[in-house]
């Protein structure tokens, strides 16, 4: 090898280094880790699968949607958070919509339109409120469940997320008449003004109206579980206290008292309800 030019010797050494380190870190390391992991924690290593009557029904770490074939919530079950991935573990991810994504593209002809993040939040809040029998009102939301956003022009204002013939959420803005939005019309040149409104009490918790990061969030907040408890108790003819006791049982507190947030595992809670 000494007779080879130095650049070639260097590349041969580099190639050998790559191959040797691939064997060490790419084959031996993962296999050793798998061996020990499978020996010590095989349940975890294989995905924390939950079985019922000998059949796998899910993983305690992976959320599911508890909806029927039409996508409507099954009323006997606690509902999970919204998911940008539709709880599909082969296409995980988030909505990635930003904090000022407030203007919808209204459906128009063949264009299906697009709901802004604000309207998604408002629509979810309204739907959850109706399901649980509480007010779904939120700041920056209209009572028909879209984002309360105006495009303001010198002579008029348009409630851009409310398609005609809807009645705009306000009749007037700073002396300008507020119109409903005509799908397909371009309002881009107007000044964007989200209107907060006067909602002070929000009954639907934050996690109930937002998609998670993974799209597989197995948890909901304690507040969202408590909001759903009366409905589930009624549908199942259980005492509210019994349901609340089950929520407590399936709540993970903060690790060591300060890490993360308390969270309720929805699949485990629903399975426990089914077993009663």
């Amino acid at each position: 090898m000494d007779r080879l030019p130095s650049w070639l010797r260097r590349h041969i050494a580099a190639l050998r280094a790559l191959l040797v380190l691939t064997v060490v870190t790419g084959i031996i390391y993962p296999l050793a880790a798998t061996g020990v992991a499978q020996a010590l924690f095989d349940d975890h290593a294989n995905g924390s699968i939950i079985e019922q009557d000998g059949k796998a029904v899910g993983s305690s770490l992976v959320g599911q949607s508890f909806t029927d074939a039409d996508g409507d919530p099954v009323r006997t079950y606690f509902q999970s958070r919204p998911s940008a991935a539709g709880y599909d573990p082969t296409s995980t991810g988030a909505s990635n919509l930003g904090p000022e994504d407030v203007i919808d593209t209204l459906p128009h002809g063949s264009d299906e339109g697009r709901q802004s993040l604000l309207t998604q939040v408002c629509a979810r809040s309204k739907a959850v409120g109706e399901l649980e029998g509480v007010s779904g009102a939120r700041p920056y939301c209209t009572s028909d469940g879209v984002g309360a956003v105006l495009k303001v022009f010198p002579d008029r204002a348009v409630s851009v997320n409310q398609a005609c013939p809807a009645t705009p959420f306000v009749a007037e803005y700073q002396g300008r008449r507020v119109e409903c939005a005509r799908p397909g019309e371009d309002y881009a040149t107007g000044r964007t003004v989200p209107v907060r409104g006067d909602v002070t009490t929000v009954r639907v918790p934050a996690d109930a109206v937002t998609a998670s990061g993974s799209g597989l969030d197995p948890h909901i907040s304690v507040a969202y579980a408590e909001l759903q408890a009366p409905r589930v108790a009624k549908e199942r003819d259980l005492a509210l206290d019994q349901v609340k006791a089950l929520i407590d049982e399936h709540t993970t507190g903060r690790a060591l008292g300060f890490m993360g947030e308390p969270a309720v595992n929805v699949l485990e809670l629903n399975l426990a309800l089914d077993r009663r």
Binding site: L21, A37, H44, T67, A94, V149, D207, H219, L267
Partner: protein
């Protein structure tokens, strides 16, 4: 306990754990890189490589070793992805498309781990473990090797040589990264991360739906992904995915792993230059910037500014329930202050100012504490520039650690600091000037610009996180971002090694009354100032059009 207090304890306990590790791990790494004995395993490896482990290298030889190793790594990883359909254990995944395979190969070799693909539907077992995870180790070890070579430049005198790249690479991998990663992998499995080479798993859900999950050796890859400040997840959802990061305490462990090596390397530096106080000064600079950045990001996220966060009542879009807003913000700060780029929540949905802070963290050059190795050499270059600026103010020849900072040294340091701004700004400009470039934006308005700016910032600084709404799996972005990653990694490395070579040749200058002490709070403050002013001057216009416009108007 209130969420605020819990958040403070979360940060405090992380800092405490890092402080506890600082001395023992820093000293251990010092012994790893300064020791003269080779273990039996290592001697066997050197024989296989055909290199003399005691042969010292000049800076050019060292740099050519880094480049040769990296080029071959890119080719190997590219080939592995392109041939995936012929590999065993590929879970039925197809060959990766060429522009994506190039992007991914460069991305993992440069310690960026930008991912334009979705892991669970693109990569099988072999590409993940024998391809991507290997680069997680060796790209981190390469960064540490370069940092150690620069430190040797300060520590040595009247010599041409900086050590041996192959020895530094092998020792960093085997003695530092492997043992810590192995223990961390088992801890992650204990928390619930998966670690299996099985085939796809399927079950029928309670309401009759079907869920299929892609199995993976996730824990072993997660461990090195974070320890080596890599950041490329097995799954698209990265550390938000419950199979990668199942609990609040694995979240803590993940953040700890991605900070620990970079935070302890200043101790190694102090030991190597024979003055621990110098290491303490460097870590003080890092800690100051870290504390300010974490506090600002927390404030922005917890106050939930912006229309949608106000409507929601909390910045919960894109966050996991088990982590909550505070711990997610901590993760986001840590991942952008280092060169990791792993995410446990989705930065695109952060508040405008919170997301802006994350971009700012990367623009700082990822020096607080930065990537494994890359953080230390970035910080030392900033220290060199600081003594130069200070020297100009008082009219003396600047020196740092007994080495004169002359024309050649300051030219190399300046070039180093110009590389990433050039790549970030030119890349963003080219993308915004072309229709294909602009088409990648998911969000409109100022936030759309932030998405593109974030992408080129992340690639050029070898971070790898994203405002993930951006659709960059196109030939245009795969190519341009790939070039940003390659130049953003290797130009600075060559410049650092050249600087090291030039410092090593010098004889030490004895300290005199005119020498600026570089271990006192005054110097710490000056380095912090130089770091922030440099970034502010370079990037304020771009930031003003993106996150600042969105957050303040």
């Amino acid at each position: 306990m209130s969420p605020t207090l819990a958040g403070i304890l979360f940060i405090g306990s992380l800092l405490l754990a890092l402080a506890v590790c600082f001395k023992p791990l820093g000293d251990y790494m010092y012994r790893v890189y300064s020791g003269t004995r080779h273990s039996a395993v290592e001697r066997g490896i050197y024989r296989l490589l055909g290199v003399d482990p005691d042969g010292e290298q000049r800076w050019g030889v060292y740099a050519r070793g880094v480049l040769a190793f990296s080029v071959l790594s890119v080719l190997f990883l590219y080939a592995l992805q392109r041939l995936q359909d012929h590999l065993v254990l590929s879970l039925g995944m197809k060959a990766v498309e060429p522009s994506s395979a190039w992007n991914t190969a460069v991305s993992f070799v440069t310690n960026t781990n930008w991912q334009s693909y979705s892991g669970e539907s693109t990569m099988g077992h072999v590409v993940q473990t024998a391809g991507l995870a290997v680069q997680n180790f060796v790209s981190a070890a390469t960064g540490m090797a370069v940092a150690v070579a620069l430190v040797r430049g300060f520590a040595r005198s009247k010599t041409d040589t900086l050590g041996n790249f192959w020895v530094d690479l092998v020792r960093g991998t085997i003695r530092i990264l492997l043992p810590i990663a192995f223990v961390a992998a088992l801890a992650l499995v204990a928390g619930g991360a998966i670690q299996t080479f099985a085939g796809h798993g399927t079950w029928t859900t309670l309401t009759g739906g079907e869920q299929t999950f892609t199995p993976a050796a996730a824990a072993s890859q997660e461990a090195i992904k974070n320890l080596g400040t890599n950041g490329g997840g097995i799954f698209n959802a990265n550390s938000a995915h419950p199979f990668e990061n199942p609990t609040a305490w694995t979240n803590w462990l993940t953040i700890f792993l991605l900070l620990v090596i970079a935070s302890c390397l200043p101790r190694t530096f102090g030991r190597m230059v024979g003055d621990n106080r110098q290491g303490h000064a460097v870590v003080a600079v890092m800690a100051t910037i870290f504390a300010a950045s974490v506090a600002l990001t927390h404030w922005a996220e917890r106050s939930a500014g912006g229309t949608v966060p106000q409507a929601i009542g909390a910045a919960m879009e894109g966050r996991e329930t088990r982590f909550g807003v505070s711990d997610s913000a901590m993760f986001a700060s840590a991942t952008t202050l280092t060169s990791t780029g792993a995410v446990d929540s989705f930065h695109d949905s952060y508040t405008a100012l919170g997301g802006g802070m994350l971009i700012f963290n990367m623009l700082l050059g990822e020096v607080a504490p930065g990537g494994t190795g890359a953080g230390l050499y970035g910080m030392l270059v900033l220290a060199v520039v600081t003594v130069f600026v200070a020297g100009l103010m008082v009219g003396r020849t600047p020196e740092y650690l007994g080495k004169k900072i002359g024309a050649r040294e300051i030219k190399l340091a300046s070039l180093y600091l110009l590389v990433t701004p050039a790549l970030v700004l030119a890349g963003t400009a080219v993308a915004m000037a072309t229709a294909t470039g602009r088409a990648a934006m998911l969000n409109g308005g100022a936030h759309g610009l932030s998405e593109i700016l974030y992408a080129y910032t992340s690639a050029s600084n070898n971070n790898g996180s994203a405002f993930a709404g951006v659709s960059v799996n196109t030939p245009f972005h795969n190519t341009t971002l790939g070039l940003c990653m390659a130049f953003g990694r290797f130009l600075p490395i060559v410049l650092v090694l050249a600087l090291a070579g030039s410092l090593a040749r010098q004889a030490p200058v004895p300290a005199s009354a005119g020498t600026l002490p570089t271990h006192r709070p005054q110097f710490v403050g000056m380095v912090v100032g130089v770091t922030i002013i440099l970034v502010a001057l370079t990037f304020l216009p771009a930031l003003a059009l993106g996150p600042l416009a969105e957050g303040l108007l």
